[in-house]
Amino acid sequence: MLTWAITIATGMVCIALLLNLWRLYLGPDVPDRILTLDTMYINSMAMIILFGIFLKSSLMFEAALLIAMLGFVGTAALCKYLLRGDIIE
């Protein structure tokens, strides 16, 4: 049962990532693309955690934590850049 649940969940996250890619292509503006990238990194974290559950190992945890931190900093920096034209004030 668990294997089935993992397969279904991975499939759903895959579809979610493809939909994100579609929105990334559609745009229409820069903030939309930043929002999509933000969603994409959270979804890829979901993917990595699912893989960790599949392997029953906690090694994948570090990767997910790193993506979470770098993704947040990246989104914040991009927003700052759009707001002020500068990352460091």
Partner: protein, 122 residues
């Protein structure tokens, strides 16, 4: 492994992935940037929460020792998600992105951009 643990983890996994998927569907379906902002930043927090709790329970049971470090990611996401959402909304307001036709209070956007109170005539 215990059947009920497996059942619980499976339900959490499918609900979590469902929320992630719904967030992305909202990203495609909703009409303008401000409404799109609601879908992923929220649905994803709960989705990730479900997935991380599932991982926590499963790894605790397979290893026989409690595994709590997934809590850190959950906490981190719950702290950063509103900050990201706020910054994106601010960026969109200053970028003068349009609202959909039927949005109420569109005229407030100008006031919000100027950071004055709504009663001021700027």
């Amino acid at each position: 492994m215990n059947f009920y643990v497996e059942l619980f983890v499976s339900i959490l996994l499918v609900t979590g992935a469902g929320f992630v998927l719904i967030g992305s569907v909202g990203l495609i379906r909703l009409p303008d940037f401000y409404t799109r902002l609601h879908a992923p930043t929220k649905a994803t927090t709960l989705g990730m929460g479900c997935l991380l709790i599932a991982s926590m329970v499963l790894i605790s049971f397979t290893k026989g020792a409690p595994s709590v470090h997934e809590l850190l990611i959950t906490l981190f996401l719950f702290i950063t998600a509103p900050v990201t959402a706020h910054m994106l909304a601010k960026t969109a307001l200053h970028y003068e992105l349009g609202f959909t036709e039927k949005t109420k209070g569109k005229e407030l956007a100008e006031k919000a951009r100027e950071r004055v109170s709504p009663a001021d005539d700027a």
